[in-house]
Symmetry: C2
Subunit: 209 residues, 2 copies
């Protein structure tokens, strides 16, 4: 599956379950203003398209590969027979759906409570392999997608990245260097209501200008 390949459209009858083997896929909604709102960015071992387990269901988002990806595609009819033969499969799908649910609630909470800079800090921390000392991470996909996924406008993303400099974060192209992971964790967990600057949601509208 090449980058930019579309797996399904929002509203399309759910025809397949997908399991990520490698790469990145975005799930998104198209907003009335024509902008995409990215609701999930999925990677290895994630399953998506669980709606296909329910005959007649439609996909609630669109899905598109954002990097060259290996994805297993399981046709809905094969899925239904597999579930009949092996009910454990349904249980596994329920587990995947409950996890997605949790990730969506996390995102709602982040949008409601975290500043743009804190959301980026969280994003970078999610890429770090360590909880101590310094860390360099490679941004896994382009900044436009990161912005959309974090609910930021592209220009707000750059400002929010700059706001992380005093906390020891520098960005060069697609590489972020974090001087102290502990310090960034403290910043990400700070109560944003103690500061009026860059309040949650304020900087995050797609359509506000």
């Amino acid at each position: 599956m090449n980058a930019a390949a579309r797996l399904f459209y929002q509203g399309e009858t759910a025809h397949s379950l997908f399991i990520m083997l490698d790469g990145w896929v975005k799930l998104y909604r198209l907003l009335p203003c024509g902008v995409e709102a990215v609701v999930s960015v999925l990677s290895r071992e994630d399953a998506f398209g669980e709606a296909s387990a329910m005959p007649g269901e439609v996909y609630s988002t669109g899905a598109e590969a954002v990097a060259d990806s290996h994805i297993m595609q399981i046709d809905a009819r094969s899925l239904w027979s597999a579930i009949k033969e092996n009910p454990q499969l349904c249980h596994a799908l329920l587990g995947a759906s409950v996890s997605r649910n949790r990730a969506l609630v996390d995102q709602l909470e982040q949008l409601k409570s975290h500043t743009g800079a804190q959301r980026i800090a969280d994003f970078l921390l999610g890429l770090c392999k360590t909880e101590h000392g310094a860390c360099t991470v490679v941004l896994p996909y382009d900044k436009g997608l990161i912005a959309s996924w974090l609910g930021l406008k592209p220009e707000t993303l750059s400002r929010a990245f700059k706001r992380l400099q005093p906390y020891g974060v520098s960005i060069s192209k697609n590489r972020a260097t974090i001087k102290s992971v502990e310090r960034l964790i403290r910043f990400a967990e700070e109560d944003p209501s103690s500061s009026r600057k860059d309040a949650p949601l304020k900087s995050s509208s797609f359509t506000q200008s």
Copy 2:
């Protein structure tokens, strides 16, 4: 189950599945600033606590009745045996989880694309039993909860209600009168980016002041 009765805490080991027979229950996250972010308000026929179908899982939100409610509570161990005996049950739970998922994505899209007044319009339209002419609806729970559920501060809610007056909506205590449902639908579906006032998310922060 009386109003304000707590069904479970966020992070608690998932011990039961719940099925709403009657009443209202909120699912919520506690934000770092101490405010509750309501992520779902559930009513008759909704199931919640699907995490209890997975041994060892925890609840990702808290749950509390917000009105006197009748709720069926199914102990996790009974649920596991029931699923073993009747795999169709797992399929039904997967359906419930996929629907919740869709509702969360809807909410994310609303937060990212709709103004506060539009979110209230959507909320009122969801209570209307008609798509034509006039309609009077009773607000099903208190305004503080409506505000939190729509991602608005209580004072922003009042302002947003006022913004609906020119569109034929008047509020008196817990009763809303809508002169023309069609007109309100048009307003709810308008592209908010055409107006700079009350841009999406701008009015919706809990902590912004």
